[in-house]
């Protein structure tokens, strides 16, 4: 589904990613962990197509197309979804309007008929119910005045609605209390399927108690320095990034 080879990315002339390799297959959940400033968020944003990041080397293939050739909206329409660490407020635009516009942009692109207001409402209500969220959320401006937890849950709602093939979650667990964490985790687990892949970017392994990953990678200084299974996250929790990154089980470094 996703093949990243030797990816180098700079921001404002500063190299952030320095030869990153990652391969994610359909049906898998990968967790990318790492200390602050290691390039985790940069990776998520580059994959989603944010401008301002200069790819100086490497390639990214997504379902047999060259991802780096596509603008952000086209990536979204092809099934890539980024759940933001800091979701953006859009005053005066209701959440329901925003969600419907997003879904229909995707449907149009895929040659499907657009949903009208009635069908859309039925769909979004079922998603709200799955995520145990209140309908009043729909009629507030996008993320405006939302609590931290509400913002994160709203991201998960969007994900549940858009049903992406590749979901990138950027610290979707940060700042959540345990109840909200369970809702978010439930949303992610609900999306797991053999056709989809999920990449969780996270600082803590807490989320991984609820969403069990197939692979765990440690990102340090712009590269994946170690990869392993679920147990790597637990080791990390115990020893901290400094030691784990240098640990003996190092693999998946540069060829």
């Amino acid at each position: 589904m996703l093949e990243i080879r030797n990816l180098h990315v700079s921001v404002d002339g500063q190299p952030i990613l320095k030869g990153l390799d990652l391969s994610v297959k359909a049906g898998e959940v990968h967790a990318i962990m790492g200390p602050n400033g290691s390039g985790k968020s940069t990776l998520a944003h580059v994959l989603a197509g944010r401008t301002g990041y200069l790819v100086t080397a490497g390639e990214v293939m997504y379902r047999s197309s060259n991802l780096l050739d596509l603008v952000a909206e086209d990536r979204a329409r092809l099934g890539i979804f980024l759940a933001f660490q800091y979701p953006v407020e859009i005053p005066g635009v209701t959440n329901v309007y925003f969600l419907k516009a997003a879904l229909n942009a995707q449907r149009r692109h895929n040659g499907q008929p657009e949903l009208d207001a009635i069908d859309f409402l039925a769909l979004i209500r079922s998603r709200l119910k799955q995520l145990d969220m209140d309908e009043s959320l729909l009629y507030r401006s996008v993320n405006q005045g939302f609590s931290g937890g509400e913002k994160k849950r709203n991201e998960i709602l969007q994900m549940a609605l858009l049903e992406p093939r590749l979901a990138l979650l950027d610290e979707s667990d940060s700042g959540l209390d345990i109840d909200a964490l369970k809702v978010v985790a439930g949303g992610i687990n609900g999306l797991r399927s053999p056709e989809r892949a999920i990449v969780l970017v996270t600082h803590y392994q807490r989320l991984l108690d609820y969403v069990v990953p197939d692979r765990v990678h440690i990102l340090a200084d712009g590269r994946i320095v170690r990869s392993g299974g679920r147990e790597l996250a637990i080791e990390l929790e115990r020893t901290g990034y400094g030691k784990a990154a240098d640990g003996p089980a190092m693999q998946a470094t540069m060829p």
């Binding site: 603008v71 952000a72 005066g92 925003f98």
Partner: protein, 482 residues
């Protein structure tokens, strides 16, 4: 992103949609301004003596004045002697009796503008007093309104048919000495709309006027007077669009509103004069004086404006709150793109007891646009318990535009409550990327964000106007993000 930038460039370079010139023989007065020209204008319009005298007084006063220099706008000096002060489409002696009598070329112009009068007449309750150049050529629904005692006609007609009303109210809100452009207008105004709602009458339809500048080198000096008598209600829509022109065109209109006891006037404008090309060449200079007076107790006046056109907008729709418990509102969206300049806002003058006013101003700047909000809230000694709330928000697109806020607050009574809030924000990369990462195009995203920003104001517009305003905003912003 390159491909997208190219597409946006293409959109930016789209010609102004309403830029075309109609070939109608104009009956113009030679360029220049002197007392002779004013005599000529008055004579052509067969005005009664009092009008001529009023015009001459205004002209003589104007000669003693100079252009105001306090706003943030800049333009080359205007040569007032190079303007022709009267232009009327040639028509039969008695003027057109029905649409069938109207110059077909004129009707085609309206069709291009999307104002097909024949259809308009049938459309949901909108009466159109269509102003082409300076003379009204068609008025619809007049008979129906007349049944209710409502007078809705061209200003020239009102001068002839209802001189007592004109005499009583003309200049009673904006005197001919008011300001440079209002004085000029008072001296040379060509035509405009007149509306009188009798006591207790609720005007059943939105009254609407489309203005349009056409003839070469002709200044447009419209004069509008609306009087809502006791316990009456009227909602008035003004929309305009102009053909493409290379030279700058001066537009100095005056609008006066009078609301008597318990009356309510809603006045909405969607202004789309030619803004000049993308290098700032051409475009309308729009110097407008709009003022309403809540003359009676419990009266209410609201201004709603969506300003997307003109090279220069200089405009401060104001309310004098004279009657006790009267209420004034101002809702504004002003957008400047390319090299457009806007210095706009309002004045709320509280004189009566327990008067209230509410101001919501949304300024949007893109390209090299300059946008200033200038607002005065004045609470006089007599205005016991007066209240005002002002909210001024600015939105910036790109890094070459500018937004300014100039609130003036004068309070002379200790019981007053005046609140002012102002914000400035930028359509950030963040907001755009957020929308794009959900599959929305950059254009749709900008349009959505801007319309969200303006929502409070659009809610004040009548439904079909709100839709038009949203579209207009989208068109005006095309290519502002690259």
């Amino acid at each position: 992103m390159l491909k997208e930038a190219a597409k946006l460039d293409e959109l930016v370079s789209q010609e102004y949609l309403h830029g075309f010139v109609t070939d109608v023989e104009s009956d113009s007065v030679p360029q220049g301004l002197n007392e002779e020209v004013i005599h000529l204008i008055s004579a052509k319009k067969e005005e009664p003596e009092f009008m001529l005298e009023w015009r001459l007084k205004a002209y003589r006063h104007w000669l003693t004045m100079s252009e105001p220099g306090w706003s943030t706008i800049h333009h080359p000096p205007i040569d007032y002697q190079a303007i022709s002060y009267y232009s009327a489409p040639r028509s039969r002696k008695d003027g057109p009796q029905s649409l069938a009598d109207v110059d077909p070329e004129l009707l085609r112009t309206y069709e291009k503008l999307g104002v097909p009068l024949e259809e308009r007449e049938l459309l949901a309750g909108v009466a159109v007093d269509a102003v082409f150049d300076s003379v009204s050529v068609a008025t619809t629904f007049k008979a129906k309104l007349a049944e209710m005692g409502i007078i809705f006609c061209s200003f020239s007609e009102a001068v002839l048919e209802h001189p007592e009303l004109v005499r009583q109210y003309l200049g009673s809100v904006v005197p001919f000495t008011d300001n440079y452009f209002a004085s000029l207008n008072s001296a040379v105004f060509s035509d405009g709309s007149f509306c009188y709602i009798p006591p207790g009458v609720h005007c059943p339809m939105e009254l609407s006027t489309y203005f349009r500048i056409n003839a070469l080198n002709t200044g447009q000096f419209e004069r509008t007077l609306i009087i809502a008598d006791r316990d009456s209600y009227v909602s008035y829509l003004e929309g305009c669009t102009a053909p493409m022109r290379d030279e700058n065109q001066l537009h100095a209109a005056v609008v006066e509103l009078v609301a008597l006891e318990n009356a309510r006037i809603r006045y909405a404008t969607v202004q789309n004069w030619y803004p000049g090309d993308k290098n700032g060449k051409g475009g309308i200079y729009n110097f407008v004086t709009k003022r309403g007076e809540c003359r009676g107790d419990n009266s209410r006046i609201s201004w709603t404006q969506v300003e997307t056109g003109s090279a220069i907008t200089w405009k401060y729709p104001s309310v004098i709150l004279k009657g006790d418990n009267s209420y004034g509102e101002f809702h504004s969206v002003a957008l400047t793109n390319n090299f457009q300049q806007a210095d706009t806002g309002t004045k709320m003058i509280h004189l009566g007891k327990h008067t209230r006013s509410h101001i919501v101003s949304k300024g949007i700047s893109a390209g090299h646009g300059r946008n200033a909000y200038r607002g005065l809230v004045k609470i006089a000694r007599t205005a016991v318990g007066a209240r005002n709330y002002s909210q001024c928000d600015s939105l910036l697109l790109g890094d070459r535009c500018a937004a300014h806020t100039f609130p003036y607050i004068e309070v002379k009574h200790s019981s007053a409550r005046v609140e002012h809030e102002a914000t400035t924000s930028r359509i950030g990369e963040d907001q755009l990327f957020y929308c794009q990462s959900r599959g929305l195009s950059a254009e749709d995203a900008v349009s959505m964000i801007v319309n969200g920003f303006c929502k409070e104001v659009f809610q004040e517009l009548p439904m079909e106007f709100a839709v038009e305003a949203q579209k207009l905003l989208g068109i005006s912003l095309e290519g502002s993000i690259g």
